[in-house]
Structures are given as C-alpha cells and as structure tokens.
C-alpha cells in the first residue's frame, strides 16, 4: 500500500542538470516519449535517478511501516480464519517492501543506506500509517480504504518508465486486490452484525475516510513535482484525478454497506458526473507529515527496536556464512579444476 505524494519540500533535485549534455538528455526524453523503458545500466539524468530513488524508497518504507498498524491486531483477530488472512496480508506488505528495496538498489543506493534514512527519520513514509488501529473494524477499513487508495495510485505506476519499478509494481498490484477485498468483507460482516458491530464499523469509517483521501497527496495546485514526474512518465495522473476516481468508486460501496461517510458536504454533482466532497483539512496532513501525527514516534521506535533486536541475527548469519566459505575453500586443493556442472 502506498501514497504517491510524499513530496518533501526542498529535497527535489533540479530537473535540468547543467553539467549533462543536452544531447543525451534529449535522447533520454525521446525514448520516454515513445514509451521505451529505462533499465538500470542505461544513461539517465541525475534528477530522474534521484526522484526515483526518493519515490521508490519511500514507497518501500511505507510497505514496511505499514505492517505495524495491522500487526497490532494479529493476536486479537476474532477468528482463526481472520488471523490467517491478516498474517498473510502483513507478510505481503513485507514482501512488497522487499521488491521495492531491490528496485531502488538498481539505481545505486544500498539497502543499508535506505534503512539508515528510515530509522534516522530522514526518509518519509506514507502518513496514513501514523494513525492508530483502535478496533478490529480498523483492519476492515484499512483494507477497504487504505489499500483501495493504494491500488488507485499503484496501477498507473505499473506503466512507469523505469523498468524495475514497473515490474515490482505489477507484482504488487496482483497481490493488493486480495487486501482490499478482505477489508471490504470485514466491513460487510460488521455492517450486517449487531448494533455494536455496526457502530464499530461506522466509527472506523469516520476515522479512516479523510486520511485515506489525503493519501493522494496535496491538491494539484500545491503539488510541485507533478509536472516533471509526468514528463518522465513516473507519474501518469495527477493527485486530484486519482483522488476523484477513488471517491467515485468508494462512495457507492459505502452506501452498499449502509454506512455514512463523515462529510456533510458530500453530494453527487450532475454537471460533472462526479461526487463532490467538502474541503480537506490539509493542516492535519501537514502536521502528520512533519512528524506530529498520533503514532509517528511509536512507528519509528518500533522499527528501530526491530532493527536493533535483529542485529545479532544478521551478524551471526554473516559470521556463519564466512566460516562456511573458509571451510569450503580449505577443502578444495589449490589449482584443482571445478567439476563440470549442469544447471538443475
């Protein structure tokens, strides 16, 4: 799951690198214009590389941090089935993080550097994961809304100009659909349950609706990276376009559940054939992005604790591998020819 617009102000590399020859840059843009994919060893403008490193690594961090709010409910899932499903979903999120870290590494940043950026707080991740999961219904709301918004963002990235990112995204999108459907099913079950269960579903929807809409990032007027990213075909739709698509498909789903969206201004607009929402409270988005959301500190502390607690395992595995290598090289007499071997 992911949001496309984690743009941190001021960190953007300038698109026109003065040191690079205009010819190469023009040829690069021409390749993009005809929908050719860019692969890791191809020449690319430094700003393209930096933009992708930032976006892919933030995306990877989001997947990894995204395991935390849901992991909170694994031990308290209401049935064995729900528990198995939730474990599978959380494991998928970890897997998505791994695909994405690998894709980012093809651009010349190491895994260790990316972890360091996350743990030091230098790198951003999706602001949605800084909200707490207070009830079981939150797991339904996250799957339905947060993963739903993520899918909306991620499907266009399957056609991103950078090959490794696009390929990772194809894999992720295939898996993401299960996440959204299991979430909706949880909401459906609660919505048809006891009055208390219904109230729980409504409460979760009330809390997750606006943060989910904010996942699409600042409005187009405020988003400074959109134009360049669209020229490079890293991004295919603007924040507002994707947000509107999400609203249009989600409102009828909420109606089906018999739940109310927490927006008194929400109405169907005959003229535009779209649902019209009330104003988004961007000050909340900015506050969460700056580190002042309900769970920012808790999330980073949990990541740091996991990283530190795993240190001895990483070191022991590396030491074991080193010992095995030494043992193997001692067993082979120097100069002896390796056995011919056919791949299995």
């Amino acid at each position: 799951m992911y949001t496309q617009a984690l743009d941190n102000p001021g960190s953007e590399a300038q698109p026109a690198d003065s040191g690079e020859s205009g010819g190469r840059a023009a040829r690069f843009q021409a390749r993009i214009d005809v929908d050719e994919k860019i692969e890791p060893k191809d020449w690319m403008p430094e700003a393209y590389r930096q933009t992708l490193i930032r976006q892919i690594s933030q995306h990877a961090h989001s997947e990894v941090v995204g395991m935390l709010p849901e992991g909170n409910w694994i031990t308290r899932a209401p049935s064995l089935k729900r528990k198995a499903v939730l474990i599978a979903k959380v494991q998928d999120e970890g897997g998505h993080g791994m695909y994405l870290y690998s894709a980012a590494e093809t651009l010349g940043i190491s895994r260790a550097e990316m972890f360091e950026q996350l743990l030091s707080g230098a790198a951003k991740y999706s602001s949605i994961f800084n909200y707490p999961t207070l009830s079981w219904a939150d797991i339904g709301a996250i799957g339905w809304l947060v993963d739903g918004a993520a899918i909306m963002n991620q499907i266009p990235i399957c056609r991103c100009s950078y090959g490794p990112y696009a390929r990772a995204m194809v894999r992720i999108c295939k898996e993401e659909s299960f996440h959204q459907r299991q979430g909706f099913e949880i909401m459906l079950t609660l919505a048809h349950g006891t009055p208390a269960q219904r109230a729980m579903a409504q409460d979760a929807l009330n809390r997750w609706w606006w943060p989910s809409l904010m996942m699409f990032g600042p409005s187009d007027a405020e988003s400074k990276h959109t134009a360049q990213s669209m020229r490079w075909k890293i991004k295919r739709f603007t924040n507002d376009e994707l947000r509107q698509k999400f609203i249009d498909i989600t409102v009828p789903q909420a109606q089906f559940l018999g739940l109310t969206l927490p927006d008194e201004a929400l109405r169907w607009d005959e003229a535009t054939q779209h649902f019209q929402i009330g104003p988004i409270d961007w000050s909340e988005f900015q506050a969460v992005l700056k580190g002042n959301g309900p769970c920012n500190r808790e999330r980073l502390e949990a990541r740091r604790a996991a990283h530190d607690a795993g240190r001895w395992v990483r070191e022991a595995a590396a030491a074991h591998a080193h010992k095995e290598r030494m043992r193997a090289s001692a067993a082979v007499p120097p100069g002896s020819a390796p056995e011919p071997r056919v791949a299995p």
């Binding site: 060893k41 494991q91 897997g95 695909y99 690998s102 894709a103 595995a317 590396a318 074991h320 591998a321």
Partner: protein
C-alpha cells in the same frame, strides 16, 4: 568482514516445462538463506516449482553503450526471417 549480506538474483521456474525466469533480487548471508528468502518473497502464491539464486556480483552483463555494436548487425539481415521469401499463393505447406 562486512556484516551487510550480499545481493542475490532470483530466478523462478513457474512450472515444469518452462524456463527459469529472473524475478528480482534479495539479500542473504549465503546461498541456502537466499533460497529460503526467495521462497518467502517470490513464491507465496505457488508462483514456482524451482528456484535458482546467484550472487549478483557474479553476473557479467553487456554494456548498454555497446548495444549498437552488438545488436545492430542483425538489423539488416532480414533474410533470416521466413517472411523475407516471396512464395506464390498456390504453393501450399511451405
């Protein structure tokens, strides 16, 4: 000795009869761990029946700079393709 686990490339055979195909990469302390991680990262939905892993550092790749020298010569050899040859309509099974 560095504690950063090396990078491995992962290749998966999705079912018997098909070739192994590159699916991505991962970090592992050694080859055995790379296979186990590849199982968890790349085959959670029965995507494979066989896994190859190899150290990324051991791959020798062609340089995009020499792509023209390597691949251009094949461009004007259209006679390597069956459609290059004009065969009268009435001749069958050719």
């Amino acid at each position: 000795m560095s504690n950063d686990w090396p990078l491995f490339e992962v290749f998966i055979r999705s079912r018997a009869g098909l070739e192994h195909k590159h699916v991505g990469s991962l970090h592992a302390a050694d080859a055995r761990m790379a296979i186990e991680h590849a199982r968890d990262v790349y085959t959670r939905r029965q995507e494979g029946v066989s896994i190859w892993v190899m150290r990324s550092a051991d791959i020798i790749a062609s340089d995009p700079q020499e792509a023209e020298a390597l691949f251009e010569p094949a461009r004007d050899k259209v006679y390597r393709h069956p459609t290059f040859y004009a065969i009268p309509e009435e001749v069958k099974n050719l």
